[in-house]
């Protein structure tokens, strides 16, 4: 493969990479007064990457580079990450003051790059690295986010626990590699099947162990029980714009990775692991919603709500790519749609906190929000739209997201062994949504009908308000036109199982005899052939 291959297939990633480095350099040439050149440059970079994504279109599902495979999941993830990424940049526009803005903005870009690579990873190592690439910049972002001491505290909590989660993830991946005998993801399933995965004699049990460790590591990223404990403190400690980012970036990466890992095993999970995900989903929703009831700090409320939303998303993850009929029969599409929508609505809620300050401090507690409804009616309205979307109320995209997730759970064929449990889980989800409404309404009430009003000072600046407005408009827009997202998310239903499908292709290709070596033949898996040629060269 030549340079042009990289340029054409990796265009958005390369734009982010080069752009991120350029923004770093802009940060180095610091001037005395804080300018927003770095923010503006990052906005352009993400915008260019988005254009590159659109112009490339949905990639050929079989195209690959070493360690990467471009399924339509990649396309969706690019659109989602970059689209919400634009909003994130707007909300973070003035976050870092002065000197550190270049570093700050570059970290955001690198984090987005990590998501993109997570989606296209076709190698356990690349997957691990991509997840780390998502996480490491967020540690820095939290630490840099504000002068208050809660920021380093949040950073140290997130970083240390994140390091532990990374170790769990690495350990799990090492077992998966050990069982499968390969790090190439689409071959893993072959290796695992060969080692009699499900109730294995041989090494099968280590595949389960590996899967559990990997699940643990990724559950930390998406904040699922029992790996959710850090979330409230970290969300509270980081500055609001960064918290908005934290609700989306690790979550999207984590869920995309989970989809890839489960897809790598063709969703043929042992029953025990299905039950594990079931229990984790139920516990996650419940813990998140229930603990949010006690909070007075809006950021902590939203943090717990973020945990609860992870629970809803886990339902869809459990349903898997292809279930039965109904309005939404595809759990993965429901999941992908929901993550994106969640990212925007959550960001919108935090954008409001970022846009106003009370008594010289950024708005944070419920009492800080009092009087916003009168003093800034438009911002309050946008906030209310986002919160109603979080609540799952029509006419917002959050409502459709919940409809998709729950209907995907109901859509499984009634003869299926997991039909009953999934229905019960969906019912638990609906009950939890009702509990959730209680604290979301407190947020809205704080804005509109609180008594002792505070003097609310708009400090966020125009970009933040723009971000807030766009978030709320997106909620309404995707209620009216969900197909814009859902159609692309649904395209994944078959390719998510690329592990299986591609493995079949490989098998047939290898059984058909040696590949044409002149390079004119249909070389489907470059990575694979490279390894082969590499080993050939070693033999000589």
């Amino acid at each position: 493969m030549g340079l042009s291959d990289y340029l054409s297939k990796l265009a958005p990633e390369l734009i982010l990479l080069v752009g991120g480095c350029a923004v770093l350099l802009i940060g180095v040439t610091r001037s005395a007064r804080p300018t927003s050149i770095a923010s503006f440059a990052s906005l352009i970079v993400v915008f260019l990457a988005l254009i590159a994504t659109f112009s490339a279109g949905a990639p050929d599902a079989t195209a690959s580079l070493p360690g990467l495979l471009f399924t339509s999941l990649v396309y969706y993830t690019r659109l989602s990450a970059l689209g919400v990424g634009l909003l994130i940049l707007l909300v973070n526009w003035y976050q870092a003051v002065g000197e550190e803005r270049g570093e700050y903005m570059a970290m955001v870009l690198f984090s987005l790059l990590g998501i993109l690579l997570t989606a296209s990873a076709n190698d356990l190592l690349v997957l691990f690295f991509a997840i780390e690439l998502v996480s490491v910049p967020t540690y820095v972002l939290i630490g840099l986010s504000r002068p208050e001491h809660r920021a380093p505290e949040a950073a140290v909590k997130y970083f240390f626990l994140g390091a532990m989660a990374a170790a769990l993830l690495a350990y799990g991946l090492s077992f998966l590699y050990g069982v499968a005998g390969t790090t190439t993801m689409h071959q893993v399933v072959d290796g695992v099947i060969r080692s009699n995965f499900v109730f294995g004699s041989s090494m099968g049990i280590y595949a389960v162990i590996g899967l559990l460790f990997v699940f643990a590591g990724l559950a930390f990223k998406v904040a699922a029980v029992p790996f959710h404990v850090y979330a409230p403190d970290v969300y509270e400690g980081a500055a609001s714009p960064v918290t908005g980012l934290l609700g989306f970036v690790p979550k999207l990466a984590g869920f995309v990775a989970l989809v890839k890992v489960f897809g790598m095993l063709s969703w043929e999970l042992p029953l025990a692991i299905q039950w594990l995900v079931w229990i984790v989903a139920a516990a996650t929703m419940t813990v998140g919603n229930v603990l949010a009831l006690l909070q007075q700090n809006a950021k902590r409320i939203l943090a717990y709500s973020s945990i609860a939303h992870t629970g809803y998303m886990l339902i869809a993850l459990l349903v898997g790519p292809v279930a039965g009929g109904g309005p939404m029969h595809d759990g993965v599409a429901a999941l992908l749609f929901y993550v994106t929508v969640y990212g925007a609505m959550n960001l919108g809620a935090f954008a409001l906190l970022a846009a106003f300050s009370v008594r010289g401090k950024p708005a944070e507690t419920l009492s800080d929000l009092a009087g916003l409804g009168k003093q800034a009616p438009l911002a309050a309205l946008a906030f209310a739209i986002c919160v109603f979307s979080l609540m799952g109320f029509p006419p917002t995209a959050g409502f459709l997201g919940k409809v998709y997730i729950f209907s995907s759970a109901f859509s499984l064929d009634s003869a299926h062994s997991f039909h009953g449990p999934l229905v019960v889980l969906a019912v638990i989800g609906v009950v939890n949504s009702a509990i959730g409404a209680a604290y979301y309404l407190r947020l809205v009430a704080a804005v509109y009908i609180s008594r002792d009003e505070q003097e609310v000072v708009p400090t966020g600046g125009t970009p933040v308000r723009l971000g807030l407005a766009l978030c709320s408009i997106a909620m309404l827009f995707f209620f009216v036109w969900p197909s814009g997202l859902v159609d692309r998310a649904q395209a994944n239903a078959d390719v998510v199982l690329h592990g299986q499908r591609v493995a079949t292709v490989v098998t047939t290709a290898s059984s058909a005899g040696p590949r044409p070596s002149d390079g004119t033949g249909a070389v489907v898996f470059l990575a694979d052939s490279d390894v082969r040629s590499a080993s050939d060269s070693r033999d000589e």
Binding site: P66, M107, L117, D123, L125, F129, R194, A534, S535, R538
Partner: protein, 266 residues
């Protein structure tokens, strides 16, 4: 399915329980020390472990002896890393772990990696550690280094997890049975053999094989690694030069857990 290890994991669980007890005794504490019983219990557990791992070896080969020695060293070093009350010593013991692991890697014919491990860890990372430890050195021995936090629960959690992982070890094939893997492949007719068996990359130069692999199959991963290191560097600089108001509190004036709020035991 041949296995190098006994089928029953109960012996292993017993050894782990013993080791956990020993470790619990050895973790630093301010009240009366239990160092001597800790050492006794711990070392008996270690010997038991070595016997368990080496039990099948009727005639000890040099490789298995080396394995026993280095794994014992690694475990001992690991125990000291987490039990030594002085961080500097912990770091030094960590070097011991790294060296022992490197030696085990050589036993596994991963020479290049062994060298890389020592160079990267002992040579680079550890030096940085020691540097920071020196930078943040406090007078005397701070209380928090002398008292472990909830040692019992920690040991329990760690060893339960370890027992779960290691308890399944009998299902793993022994690599001394050179044909085992091929036999496994051959026995299952329905699945084609994965990779060509002819090219054993472990033959010949291990370093060259690694080099080729890094530049072909893992080239993207390599690029990401480079980017990650860059991010780490930039992030570390940005964080450490960040201006932050000091809230220093003299160590002696402050009982444990008194900044912020009282932290109840978990």
């Amino acid at each position: 399915m041949t296995s190098a290890l006994p089928q029953h994991a109960y012996a292993l669980y017993a050894i782990f329980a013993l080791g956990a007890l020993g470790l619990y005794c050895l973790l630093p504490r301010t009240e009366r020390a239990r160092t001597i019983p800790g050492i006794v219990i711990g070392s008996s557990a270690l010997i038991g472990l070595l016997l368990f791992l080496g039990i099948r070896i009727a005639s000890p080969t040099s490789a298995s002896v080396y394995f026993c020695i280095f794994s014992a060293l690694a475990i001992l070093g690991g125990v000291r890393v987490i039990t030594h009350p002085k961080p500097v010593y912990s770091a030094v013991y960590f070097v011991l772990v790294v060296v022992a692991v490197a030696a085990m890697l050589i036993l596994l014919q991963a020479e290049f990696l062994a060298a890389a491990l020592i160079i990267i860890y002992a040579g680079a990372i550890l030096v940085t550690y020691v540097f920071v430890i020196m930078l943040a050195q406090q007078s005397g021995r701070p209380t928090y280094d002398r008292r472990a936090r909830e040692p019992f629960a920690a040991v329990l959690a760690g060893f339960i997890l370890m027992a779960a992982v290691a308890g399944q070890v009998s299902t793993l094939p022994g690599s001394q049975d050179a044909t085992s893997r091929s036999a496994r492949m051959a026995s299952d007719e329905s699945l084609p053999a994965a990779a060509d068996e002819s090219a054993d990359p472990l033959k010949g130069s291990n370093t060259a094989g690694m080099g080729v692999l890094l530049m072909t199959k893992y080239v993207i991963a390599l690029e990401i690694a480079g980017l990650l290191l860059l991010i780490s560097m930039v992030g570390a600089i940005a964080l450490s030069k960040k201006r932050a108001a000091s809230e220093r509190i003299e160590e002696e004036a402050r009982p444990i857990g008194q900044i912020g709020k009282e932290v109840k035991p978990f």
